[in-house]
Symmetry: C2
DNA sequence: GTCTATACGCAGATAGAC
DNA sequence: GTCTATCTGCGTATAGAC
């Protein structure tokens, strides 16, 4: 460990290349349709070599998710440094996740896939980051609720789940397919529907039922 | 056509049983995780028999989707008979689709699965119903926009896509897992976030003319 | 650690008797 | 049309040489 051997750096770089490919393929096709053969073809290594770095296909996905969560946590720090209101901070996060999705950087994992899900919740690196992310978002959410900038009738976990769900909202892709809007237009439209709703608010009445 | 023989009715009933099982399994596990072996085990027939009725796994999913779309079209007729406002009609549709999802009646098909998607868009029965559904919803959407009850800045197709997307919103399942809310409470919460947004509207920034 | 070659299992689909 | 038994391809994972 005296010298950070050059060889180790090369290996680390290779693992990074693998995870980058996995991330892209996960965003394109999702976990089920992504095959390990595609990954090794993309990276340009043999399949057995990949399995020297990662134990399973699920471990590949977990590594990709850790990478995304790390980037998300870094983004949260950036946003916090801007000293926005809690509500605007949440909007900034949502905007960032939508940009990630449109840029093909957001892996899409089947929500209820049991094999992958088990692997993820058993992965400490993944769960730690997920918890931290939830905590930091939760702080903004409760602060926004206290300020009255989020609807007081909404439970905090509903807001949290909704933010996570909008990070992989298929409406983004559908709107892009229509070809009529720029990526930034799409993002602003979806931000508005997420935070302000589809309906035009009426002057002095709460919506009933 | 001559009278439908009793034998044909039995066969039809068997196909209905198959599609019902497929529908349930699709709602539970999604297309990828549903296996044909599970379907035949659930129905209680041999696999070769199933393939006498349906050409492929994709054809099974298409039949299930046709069934769902037919139920949706029937529901639309019900709603139209109530003579609600366009906005309330759209809300009623959203409420119905959420109920279907919580009841385990809404198949979840991976949005960008190419093999299945190709099969679906090649299926005339499916596409016909999808078009009709889109048309009928589109009429309500444009009417609501004309009345000013939907945000005028929103493109009609965004509203349509959003309604489709919310029919399989994973937030429903996440909230149910928390165990704190009844199904109807969950539906009303999500209806509100969909149509009125997460944010509390500010008091006097919404002049209505 | 990297490679070629291969084992293994699973899931979709079919053959052929009845 | 229904069954049992089988074929086939593919995708994950591993053996063994270098």
């Amino acid at each position: 460990m005296a010298k950070p051997s050059f060889r180790e750096q090369v290996l680390q770089a290779r693992e990074d290349a693998i995870v980058a490919s996995v991330n892209r393929l996960l965003a394109e096709k999702g976990f089920d349709l992504m095959t390990v053969d595609e990954v090794v073809a993309d990276v340009g290594i043999a399949k057995a070599s990949l399995y020297k770095h990662f134990d399973s296909k699920e471990a590949l996905a977990a590594a990709a998710m850790v990478r995304v969560l790390d980037r998300a946590l870094a983004e949260l720090a950036q946003i916090r440094a801007q000293d926005l209101s809690p509500l605007d901070s949440l909007k900034a996060v949502a905007r960032w996740t939508m940009r990630q999705q449109l840029a093909g950087e957001m892996p899409s994992l089947p929500a209820q896939n049991s094999s992958l899900r088990q692997a993820l919740i058993s992965d400490k690196a993944y769960m730690d980051r997920l918890m931290q992310l939830s905590d930091e978002l939760g702080a903004w959410i409760t602060a926004a609720l206290a300020q009255g900038s989020l609807r007081s009738a909404l439970p905090p976990e509903l807001v949290l789940y909704t933010l996570f769900a909008r990070a992989c909202d298929p409406v983004l892709g559908m709107l892009r397919l229509s070809g009529q809007y720029s990526d930034e237009q799409i993002i602003e439209l979806l931000l508005q529907t997420c935070f302000d709703g589809l309906a035009q608010p009426v002057a002095n009445a709460k919506p009933r039922r």
